[in-house]
């Protein structure tokens, strides 16, 4: 394996092993399960016709991401681990790439967990269990660049909180001028339930978000790179 990818994969694996044992992941996973269970309890106890909603899937997913979605760069900065790794044992670019890879892997790994729980609570409703984890994984991926920027700029351990606050602030600010619907459409968030083709605009924006994330990662790795002294000369 190419050394660059080898380093990136090693850092990603290290980060993921840290997360697996972390209380925040356990709390996030437990909160997701509890809220989804509550949503389904309300659903199954509602008099027919039962409501055609997400049965608290959205709240459950956002809560889980609120506590567990992060790149881990702020925590490494606090502990002094980032300084140790980036520039000494690997390059800043590989370090950042490893963190991004770990976060994307985490996001993708959460989807099957959400799917299994959704399938179990909905008593085998495949369409429901496939639709919401897919939709919310795409939504989370759409906001990854914002999460990355918030974590790096503010060095906070819960960047999703900032992104949520910012999102609703911007939404409120734009609402008088464009209306919420226009903003929602702009972000590709207007979808039709259980209609996969309605996810295409969102998927397109996720691809753009991926490019944006790569650019931000490059900027971040440049800012971490050692500042070269003036008039450096090498023989």
């Amino acid at each position: 394996m190419n050394r660059r990818f080898h380093h990136t994969a090693a850092i990603a694996a290290f980060e993921l092993r840290q997360r697996i044992g972390s209380p925040t992941l356990l709390i996030g996973a437990a909160a997701f399960a509890a809220l989804l269970a509550l949503g389904h309890w309300l659903y199954w106890n509602a008099p027919p016709p039962r409501p055609d909603d997400d049965r608290l899937f959205g709240y459950a997913y956002i809560t889980a991401m609120f506590v567990s979605l992060r790149f881990g760069i702020a925590a490494d900065t606090t502990s002094g681990f980032r300084d140790l790794l980036a520039g000494n044992l690997t390059t800043p670019r590989r370090y950042i790439a490893g963190k991004v890879q770990a976060t994307v892997t985490f996001l993708l790994a959460f989807a099957p967990y959400a799917f299994v729980l959704a399938l179990a609570f909905s008593a085998g409703d495949w369409r429901y269990a496939l639709w919401y984890p897919t939709l919310f994984t795409l939504v989370a991926a759409l906001f990854l660049p914002a999460v990355f920027a918030a974590e790096l700029a503010l060095r906070i351990h819960y960047p999703v909180a900032v992104v949520i606050i910012l999102f609703f602030t911007i939404l409120a600010a734009l609402e008088p001028f464009y209306g919420i619907e226009a903003v929602v459409r702009f972000l590709g968030l207007r979808t039709e339930r259980f209609a996969p083709e309605s996810l295409l605009p969102l998927a397109g924006r996720v691809a753009i978000a991926g490019i944006l994330l790569a650019l931000l990662a490059e900027l971040a790795s440049r800012s971490l790179r050692a500042a070269p002294p003036k008039a450096t000369r090498r023989r």
């Binding site: 140790l84 000494n88 002294p229 023989r235």
Partner: protein
Amino acid sequence: MVPLPDALTPNPTWRLRVEGLGIRRRRTWIVAGFTWEHHPGHIAWITGENGAGKSSLLRVLAGRARPTTGSISWDGPPGQRPLRLYYHPTMGLPPRSTLGDWRRLLASLGEGEPTVPGAWTLDPGRAPADRRLGQISTGEARRVLLAGLLGRAAPFLLLDEPYEHLSAGARDRLTEILVRIARESVVVVATNREIPARAADGPVLRLDGTRVEPATAPREVL
């Protein structure tokens, strides 16, 4: 104490060179008009009072900060990467990771890279691999961290207060490792402590106001 393998040989090809270096922190000059060069062979020491600017100078020498004036070069054989390892006391290990995970990461990152024989002996190796890094003592954590860092062979090694939190035995072992690394690499250490006698044959830079006083024997200075 485990004897260190004698695999490192003097390498005079690397050179740290400083010309007319000036470092200003806020409105105070720490160093001004400093010209100096250092080769492998002996450890160079930076000493001075608290706040004298030892860490700032070392950061600049490591290329982690820009000098206000002057230039620094890390010269070496053509085509070889002048890797600079830099340590400062606020570096740490992620508390939630285990020793085993850390060692696995080190092994992965160091695969195919030149290593320093015997640097691992600084790692006390007492704690089990599944012990979290946040649960080992401060001194043990320093040793684990330093062992990992020093295990990577690099032509330039710049250490800021590496003796902090180490026991007397660990300090001796660290000195022994540094002396061996210094035969082949440019090693500069900033310290508040007394310079170990076995490594006292290198130059000492004493920071005193804006002056840097190079001295050949540390006892003339301390």
